[in-house]
Structure formats: C-alpha cells, structure tokens
Symmetry: C2
Subunit: 116 residues, 2 copies
DNA sequence: GCCATATATGCACCACCGTTCATATGTTGT
DNA sequence: ACAACATATGAACGGTGGTGCATATATGGC
C-alpha cells in the first residue's frame, strides 16, 4: 500500500472511460505513429495517388506501401477507388488533417519553449 | 518502373515536409499509441496525481508507471512538481486534451458509419 | 546518520510490428 | 484463354518497445 489517496482514486476511477474506448483510441494513434504511414498521409494531403506512385515517391516496395495502406484503411483514415487496373487512395475525411495539425502545433510550441 | 505519374510525383514531392518533421510527428503520436499511457493521460484529465496513486488506479507496478511517465514527460505531454517525498504529475498543456478529443471524434464518426 | 517511503533507472524477457520475398488476386487487351 | 500490369496477401525475419525485477536515488523523520 502507499500513502493515502482514496478520495482521488475513487473520483478518477469513476470518470475513466471503459477499456474498449481507451484501446480503440490508442489503436487509432498507433496508426499515426509510424513514419511511413505519416508520409503516406502527407502525400495524400496534396492529391489522391495510386499505390505504385506512393511507392516510387517514398522509395519503398509496393508491398510495404500496400500493407500500410491496409492499416490506414482499417482505421478509416483513407479510402480508395478503382480505375481500371490502378487503385487510387485518398483521405477518408478531414479529421486526419485536423489530428496531424494538432500534433504539429504541439511540436511547434515545444520547440519555442526549448529556445530558452 | 510503373505507369506514368511524373507530374503528380514532382508536385507532391516538393510539398512533402522534411524527414525530421515527419519523424517527430510520428514519434509524438507513438506516445499516444499505448493503452497504459492513454489511461494515464485520461486520469490526469481529472486531477494531478502522484505515481503510486496512478499505479494503484491502473493495477500496475510503480516501475511500469514511472517508465511511462518518463515517456510522456519527454514528449512534453505531462510535467511534475515535487511535494515532499511524493511527485505529482499533471498535463503539460491543453494540446493533449485537444489531440485526444480529435481522435475520439474520429472514432465516433467511424462507429456511426458502421451502423448501416 | 539511519530507516522508511516515494520515485527513478538499468536490465532482460517477451510480444508486437514493419519490411521484404514470394505468390495470389484482379483487370485489361489481344 | 493468355500475357502483362497493378495491387493484395501470407510467411518469416529482425528490431523495437512495454513490463517486471532488482536496485539506485532522493526526501523526511527520528
């Protein structure tokens, strides 16, 4: 046991969301937590792109990109449309931009504080 | 080589941020991508807390919590203050709430779409 | 100074994840 | 139906990261 904090423990415990929500949330952010996927998202900020274009842009295997696009799609961050043999991927909604932008702002603020 | 997409490649490539920014961004989101850290953040939404209180709340080792608090602190998501022997951790700024809230909204929207 | 309490840290183990290779699926043109 | 191209998928390898154990550091009380 430790020092007394029963009051706070009870109050915070009652306000904590269920495990499933916490899990879904961290799973979502996990998707943003990889440089390859982040590069893909940034690319799609500019324009929809087909798989091989992204692979060429990032200098990576088509397979690797395909795997990561699947992860992004499962998280509903991107969607795709078929046009003949090629499949174009694009941002699923505007939340993606907002979330990345918020992360960006945090980084900026962090850097300005470090310049002391 | 693949089918032609020189135009798009050049345009997108010129707009892509430098690798360091991409890396910093994904590193930041990586911090949100763990259930333990997410639970800690949600706890701190309610109130500042000491290490052993968080450990008791989450039913985990003091060591594990301490390790994760270090990660959160390195990312400038939390800060701490000492009061005698105990050290209280709290949210470093309001970006944390905003980022988590954005992720939450994305999940909500996703769920409503799945209810078809 | 010594002991108890609160927190931090180094290490090692294990699980998970990103990549590549090989191959499968799907589409178009002939 | 077959060949060529675009993409998806499964398996395996390697690296990273979260956890617990043991221990170190720090503060307060006696």
């Amino acid at each position: 046991m430790a020092h007394n904090h029963e009051e706070i423990l009870c109050r915070v415990k009652s306000e904590l969301p269920e495990d499933e929500l916490i899990c879904d949330l961290s799973d979502l952010f996990k998707v943003f937590g990889d440089t390859t996927r982040m590069k893909i998202l940034y690319s799609l900020f500019e324009s929809e792109m087909c798989v091989c274009a992204i692979a060429e842009l990032l200098g990576m295997t088509q397979s690797a990109i395909s795997h990561q696009l699947k992860v992004l799609k499962n998280a509903n961050l991107v969607a795709n449309r078929r046009e003949g043999k090629t499949i174009y991927y694009f941002l699923a909604d505007e939340h993606v931009r907002t979330i990345v932008a918020q992360g960006f702002e945090h980084l900026i603020e962090k850097h300005t504080h470090e310049k002391k």
